[in-house]
């Protein structure tokens, strides 16, 4: 795989001390589509996400297809600047010429009203902050979008709207969706990959 080829992991091993989290893992993301990564806690889903985001390096094997490709992410935590408003948090990651109107429109699309998006995000609820983080990841000019349990904490009133908006806006982009929920994977018509590893055992992938 090269910079113009697919994105994935080839024979990747990752250890934390004696703890082998990934052991020779092969994983190819569906180009321009959604790959859902599922598996029990500790199976290495977040480690895979961090490797694909360039935040971690494998002990063995290679992460391929990332060269120069812009990435975005919804992390397990919101990772928003608490003193900035929702609008400014989103604009922080966009280019200099980012359209403020487009940001406001996107935030409104996931149910965040005008008063909410101009308040410092430290004053928002967990669900509101989560939606800001989602909008930031989706609006960013990224070829690879990593969504690590993105809809956790959203109530049933806003979750379907938010999921529909994400699906529409991510169409044609390569997306890794880390989730425990098979219905989310099905909603995104994702190719599902199960990580079946557990502490100290071999991780395997199947599509």
């Amino acid at each position: 795989m090269s910079g113009t080829g697919g994105i994935g992991l080839r024979g990747v091993t990752r250890r934390f001390g004696e703890h082998v989290v990934l052991d020779g893992l092969d994983l190819s993301l569906t180009p321009g589509g959604v790959t859902a990564l599922m598996g029990p806690n500790g199976s290495g889903k977040t480690t895979v996400a961090r490797l694909l985001l360039g935040l971690d390096r494998p002990d063995g094997g290679a992460v391929e297809g990332l060269d120069g490709r812009p990435r975005s992410a919804v992390f397990q935590e919101d990772r928003l600047c608490p003193q900035l408003s929702a609008v400014d948090n989103v604009r922080l990651v966009l280019g200099r010429g980012a359209d403020r109107g487009a940001v406001l429109e996107a935030l409104a699309a996931v149910g965040l009203d005008d008063a909410t998006v101009h308040a410092p995000v430290r004053e928002l609820s967990g669900g509101q902050r989560r939606r800001v983080a989602i909008v930031r990841a989706v609006l960013a000019d990224a070829e690879l979008v990593v969504l690590d349990e993105p809809f956790t904490g959203l109530d049933q009133a806003v979750k379907p709207v938010t999921m529909a908006w994400v699906r529409d806006r991510c169409a044609g982009r390569t997306v890794l969706l880390v989730t425990h929920d098979e219905r989310e994977a099905a909603w995104f018509e994702a190719r599902v990959v199960h990580l079946e590893g557990s502490v100290g055992s071999v991780s395997a992938a199947r599509g």
Partner: protein, 240 residues
């Protein structure tokens, strides 16, 4: 509380009964009232305020810049560590004498104030940089947030409280060391010079009056600095 201690001071001064040993608060305030009416008082106070204030500002600025460079370059941090420790541990009089020998007394208070501020603000700033939120820094890496924007949105809000704490400690240090330098170096027209003259002429009311002036200037300057830092925190640090 202040009234209580003023009363104690007055009673002790009356009991001692010798102005040369202990001037009473009434005598000190009377002398201060006389001094305030002279033009020399204001130029003297301005002289010291300007130099110590500038010394504090320069020291704080240099410390923050050095900490930023040290955080980015471990070699610089390693080189600076013994230097900062030495400045912190060396008695201020050693520096005062050294500065008098090297530069004379014109900028003595400025240099000494700056020198005393640098270690405390440097150490605090470095600690603030080390305590930045790694999760936010990772986010900025993933999104390739430009350096300047990252500094404003993530670095400054994280480091500013530490800089503020360092500056609050540094203000007091700057005044204490700056006045000590003036008393030893006797720069012309400074508060230190006037305090030294009070000692030579055994004028205790003058000594106490100038000490009150130093305390008042130090407190006023500290409040001014705190106001500025609070405004900076509101503007860039996200303080509520």
């Amino acid at each position: 509380m202040l009234v209580f201690w003023l009363a104690v001071w007055q009673l002790v001064a009356q009991a001692v009964g010798q102005q040369i040993v202990l001037a009473s608060p009434v005598e000190v305030v009377g002398r201060l009232a006389e001094l305030v009416r002279t033009t020399g008082f204001w130029t003297t106070a301005g002289h010291s305020l300007l130099r110590i204030g500038a010394g504090f500002a320069i020291g704080a600025l240099v410390a923050v810049c050095l900490a930023a460079v040290a955080a980015a370059m471990p070699l610089v941090a390693a080189l600076l560590a013994p230097l900062i420790s030495t400045v912190r541990a060396t008695p201020v009089v050693s520096f005062i004498i050294l500065v008098i020998l090297v530069t004379g007394t014109g900028r003595l208070a400025l240099v000494i104030s700056a020198l005393m501020v640098v270690p405390v603000v440097y150490t605090n700033t470095l600690e603030g940089i080390a305590h930045r939120d790694t999760a936010l820094l990772e986010m900025a890496t993933v999104y390739r947030v430009p350096r300047l924007r990252r500094v404003r949105a993530i670095d400054v809000p994280a480091v500013l409280p530490f800089v503020v704490a360092g500056c609050e400690t540094g203000v007091g240090l700057a005044w204490k060391s700056g006045i000590a330098a003036e008393v030893i170096g006797l720069p012309t027209g400074s508060i230190g010079e006037r305090m030294y003259q009070a000692k030579i002429f055994l004028s205790t009311p003058d000594l106490f009056a100038w000490t009150l002036v130093v305390v008042a200037l130090s407190v006023a300057f500290e409040r001014l600095v705190r106001l500025g830092l609070t405004a900076a925190q509101r503007r860039w640090g996200g303080a509520a």
